[in-house]
């Protein structure tokens, strides 16, 4: 959000409060992007979130509504500003629980875990949606969001079945020598499972569902499709081009390397939908 939008929104605050309404919506501040994106998807915009300045770079969708205040960054959010905004409820996640004692001085705090391992794909993002719907008095909106999402995922699953895609290897290039590779219990893996795509990375990951490895660890003689999320460091391509190990890899020789826009790794249903849409759309474009 730029400054002008913010000024406009704060200037409008008293006006909003005065507007006669039977049940004014809760003014909610979110300390977590996954919770914020779910709120927006439920049609209940937060009044303030952390790291709003970086939203368009990493979350992208849904777009951040105008007038959401930027609280700065964890580890030290702007308590002065938050206190001035006087929210009715503050949402936190276990990642930021160290802020809670202070936040409780400003408004009631609700902690919602966005990341839990589960056997059913996307169980936790669904749970987050339901819990948030109940807390915000938007139980119906939550129910319909989940129904829409299910419908969308089922659609993607059918389109994937028609594509017969190669297994995918999802990575982030950290520098020219290392990647972060995703699997395990992460959101991406959950989406892959839900829409029926095989992950080529079957080795262990950390608790959060990813693993940092040297690029030589990706060496394999089976064919697959490497999908790198943006941003790709500027020196990665040129350096790798000079590596015999890399250029002889079957999937590199076959040209099975793609780049996708960034998707929030610790996201909820909106990010999952975004990932599925980007991935399936990309695979379809390739098969044409």
């Amino acid at each position: 959000m730029d400054r002008r939008q913010f000024v406009a929104s704060v200037a409008a605050l008293p006006f909003l409060q005065q507007r006669p309404r039977s049940n004014p919506p809760l003014r909610v501040a979110s300390m977590d992007w996954a919770l914020a994106e779910t709120m927006i998807a439920l049609g209940h915009d937060p009044i303030a979130i952390v790291a709003a300045a970086d939203w368009n770079r990493y979350v992208v969708e849904p777009p951040l509504p105008r007038g959401v205040a930027d609280l700065g960054l964890h580890p030290e959010i702007n308590f002065e500003l938050l206190a001035t905004l006087a929210p009715d409820l503050i949402l936190t996640s276990p990642f930021v629980q160290d802020l809670e004692p202070v936040l409780q001085r400003i408004a009631p705090v609700q902690r919602i875990s966005i990341f839990e391992k589960s056997a059913v794909p996307l169980a936790q993002p669904r749970e987050v949606t339901r819990v948030l719907g109940d807390s915000l008095g938007r139980t119906d909106a939550a129910r319909s969001l989940l129904a829409t999402a299910d419908q969308a995922f089922d659609g993607y699953r059918q389109r994937v079945r028609a594509l017969h895609p190669l297994p995918v290897l999802l990575v982030n290039f950290i520098d020219a020598r290392h990647v972060r590779v995703y699997g395990g219990a992460g959101l991406y893996q959950n989406v892959l499972d839900r829409i029926g795509i095989t992950n080529a990375w079957t080795r262990e990951t950390n608790y959060w569902g990813y693993s940092t490895v040297g690029i030589e660890t990706l060496a394999t003689d089976t064919d697959l499709r490497l999908i790198a999320f943006e941003p790709v460091p500027p020196d990665a391509q040129s350096t790798l081009a000079r590596s015999p190990l890399w250029s002889h890899l079957p999937f590199v020789r076959a040209g099975h390397v793609s780049v996708l826009p960034s998707v929030l790794m610790f996201g909820a249903i909106p990010s999952a939908l975004r990932f599925a849409r980007l991935l399936v759309g990309h695979l379809e474009r390739l098969s044409r």
């Binding site: 400054r3 000024v7 704060v10 300045a53 990493y58 205040a69 930027d70 609280l71 700065g72 960054l73 964890h74 580890p75 030290e76 959010i77 702007n78 308590f79 002065e80 500003l81 206190a83 001035t84 990642f95 629980q97 160290d98 802020l99 809670e100 004692p101 202070v102 001085r105 950290i174 520098d175 020219a176 020598r177 290392h178 972060r180 080795r203 262990e204 990951t205 950390n206 693993s211 940092t212 490895v213 040297g214 690029i215 030589e216 060496a219 394999t220 003689d221 460091p233 500027p234 020196d235 350096t239 790798l240 000079r242 590596s243 015999p244 190990l245 890399w246 002889h248 079957p250 610790f266």
Partner: protein, 663 residues
């Protein structure tokens, strides 16, 4: 250093190390090589195992040996030219300069990274080294001044990149890996280019061996032998910096090899500089090869990514602790600047003027701020409630912590006679962080209460260690500090490993370490203020010891001061002061280092006046830092602890840059 027994020969250890390193490397590559030979008979068009062996494993092992050897050579040269057994490439801020350069480029001009990450790193190292030279040019390039300047620049660059990482962690994830030195390779290119660069340095190194050997004598004698000491020192430091910067630019920061290899070479009997350089180089190469090969074998067992540089630090720090008793630390003459006029400010002047100035500062910091639109404003009486709830407590807490650390720093610098001594390196903060880290990873996420309990327990644990050390014999304060340095490096490494794996909990830890004050309650602020008042009052009591101890052991004992007891009590006091401040502001402020220097620059010298002066100076720096942290990047709040390092380090640089009359 103990005098080596005549029969001790360096090559025995070197050969043993080489056999061990090669053995491990052979274990690592045996199977692929056998398969490779077998496949000669029946070649396949594309064999993934062969590709990995030829373009990943072998270049990586070669890189390990080459990097280790170059870093060790660099360390050996630096230890000789700076006459300090603890000098190492890291001491000079070479790594920190490169790190900051990469961070800044990645964030602001990413296209430059496309030209080559190594070029950016090299430029950063070169700039920081030049800055070191620039700062010490008026001090005759003295060894001590170089160490000091290197430390300060390392500190500044380190704090700056830590701040950038906290603000932009997602973009700068690469910095974690770079900072913990991963040797992972995918082609021979980096190895060959490093080899080429290092080859350029071979002839200069050979040329300075003989002149450097003369540096076993003191500067005056060397000059009398017709050697231009200044030029030699600049040349040697530049060559050593180049060696280490080449390695750093290729693989990132690999700590401790440059420090430990020359120490081991010395202990194994390499007496003369030429011998030391040669055997350090060999042993350094073998050490890193051994570490990396072992790590690769173990890596098959665990799924976690562990960079080699972090491991060398984890192994190297305890090794340094073990070697400490054998290290003879020469008592160095204190090299603090002597004011030319005797401005004997009385204690009451210092207290009155200082307190008034400080209160003015606090008043400004409390009232001046930025409103919800980011606009600058002076708080009015109407906002009093809000100011008392949110601003005053954090300022009081930060200032109290600053006062505690400033006092601790003064005590430590007086006791050790070392102007680089500071509470941050005493090991108390390091103990606290280690305990919090362990608790965080053993019990998962921690709530604030248990985090503080763990931190206190860690600090008290180190205190206990100090007590045991102290009761055994009269403690050498330098060794206590060196132990603290080793412990702090260990913490850095552990945090580095955690961060490199990308675990979100590492970020929690970094946040805590960076020193946040925003959420301080009124009660918390009162407690901090009370602790500062009580502990600083206690610190006034031994101020006479602080005057006598810098005179040296002999005169101190002659006037009836019990060295063991007085030093122990003072170190203990400093540790308690530090332990009280760390939970408030984190371990990274370096206010304890800066406050005594500020006091000295102000011309205050009497011990009692210095105690009050350092407390006030520490409080003042923290107040300014807290204000900057609150307002500079609004609405983003910066961590006060890191900002304090950023505010103070340039000040120290200016002090260093002043012309100093050498006695």
């Amino acid at each position: 250093m103990t005098i080596p027994k005549a029969y001790r020969k360096p090559y025995i250890l070197a050969v043993a190390l080489a056999v061990l390193a090669l053995g491990t490397a052979i274990v690592l590559v045996a199977e692929p090589v056998r398969d490779l030979l077998a496949s000669r008979v029946n070649p396949e068009p594309y064999d993934i195992e062969r590709m990995v062996l030829l373009y990943a494993t072998l270049p990586r092992l070669s890189m390990a040996f080459l990097a280790g050897a170059a870093l060790a050579a660099s360390g050996a040269i630096l230890q000789q030219v700076l006459r300090n057994p603890l000098a190492s490439p890291t001491t000079l801020g070479i790594d920190a300069g490169a790190r900051l350069a990469i961070a800044v480029t990645t964030l602001f001009i990413p296209s430059l990274i496309g030209f080559g990450r190594d070029i950016v790193a090299l430029t950063g190292s070169a700039l920081s080294t030049l800055l070191v030279f620039f700062l010490v040019r008026r001090r005759g390039f003295s060894a001590l001044a170089i160490v000091l300047a290197g430390l300060v620049i390392g500190l500044y660059c380190g704090a700056a990149s830590a701040l950038l990482v906290l603000l932009k962690d997602r973009i700068l994830a690469s910095l974690f890996i770079w900072g913990s030195g991963s040797l992972s390779q995918q082609s021979w290119d980096p190895f060959l280019s490093l080899l080429g660069r290092l080859a350029l340095a071979v002839i200069p190194v050979l040329l300075i061996i003989r002149p450097l050997s003369l540096l076993d004598l003191d500067d005056d004698s060397v000059r009398a032998l017709g050697l231009p000491v200044k030029k030699l020192r600049v040349a040697a430091v530049a060559i050593a910096a180049a060696l280490s910067a080449f390695v750093t630019s290729a693989v990132g920061v690999i700590g401790f090899i440059g420090l430990v290899a020359p120490v081991i070479a010395r202990l194994s009997g390499a007496r003369r500089f030429g011998e030391r350089l040669w055997w350090s180089t060999v042993m350094g190469g073998c050490l890193l090869l051994l570490t990396d090969a072992t790590l690769q074998i173990l890596a098959g067992v665990t799924a976690e990514f562990v960079p080699t540089g972090a491991v060398t630090a984890v192994i190297g720090s305890p090794l340094l602790l073990l070697l400490l008793p054998r290290l003879k630390v020469a008592a160095r003459p204190s090299a603090t600047a002597t004011p030319q006029t005797a401005q004997a400010f009385s204690v009451s002047t210092v207290v009155i003027v200082g307190t008034l100035g400080f209160l003015l500062l606090v008043g400004l910091a409390v009232l001046a701020g930025r409103g919800p639109y980011g606009e600058w404003q002076i708080s009015s009486l109407a906002q009093l409630d809000y100011v008392i709830t949110w601003r005053l407590p954090r300022i009081v807490a930060a200032a109290s912590a600053g006062a505690l650390l400033g006092t601790a720093g003064l005590i430590l610098q007086r006791v050790t006679g070392n102007e680089m001594a500071s509470p941050e390196v005493l090991g108390v903060s390091a103990g606290a962080i280690l305990a919090v880290t362990l608790a965080l990873f053993v019990f998962g996420a921690l709530d604030v209460f248990w985090r503080d309990v763990a931190g206190m327990a860690g600090g008290i644990g180190v205190l206990g260690l100090l007590v045991t050390l102290g009761s055994r014999s009269s403690i050498s304060p330098e060794k206590v500090l060196l132990g603290g340095v080793a412990l702090s490096a260990l913490i850095d490494a552990v945090v580095g490993v955690l961060s490199a794996t990308g675990d979100p909990r590492a970020f929690l830890l970094l946040g805590w370490m960076s020193g946040t004050t925003g959420g301080t309650t009124v009660a918390g602020a009162l407690a901090a203020g009370l602790a500062a008042a009580v502990l600083i009052s206690v610190s006034v009591l031994p101020s006479r010891w602080l005057a006598i101890l810098p005179l040296g052991d002999s005169p101190a004992r002659a006037v009836g001061l019990s060295l063991g007891r007085s030093r122990f009590l003072l170190l203990f006091l400093a540790a308690v002061l530090t332990a009280a401040a760390t939970p408030i502001i984190g371990p990274l402020t370096f206010v304890g280092l800066m406050a005594p220097h500020i006091v000295q620059a102000a011309g205050i010298r009497r011990p009692l006046a210095c105690v009050f002066g350092s407390a006030i100076a520490g409080a003042g720096v923290m107040t300014v830092a807290d204000w900057v942290a609150r307002t500079a990047a609004y609405p983003v709040q910066l961590p006060t602890g890191l900002v304090a390092a950023m505010v103070g380090a340039p000040f120290l640089m200016i002090l260093l840059n002043r012309r100093v009359a050498t006695a």
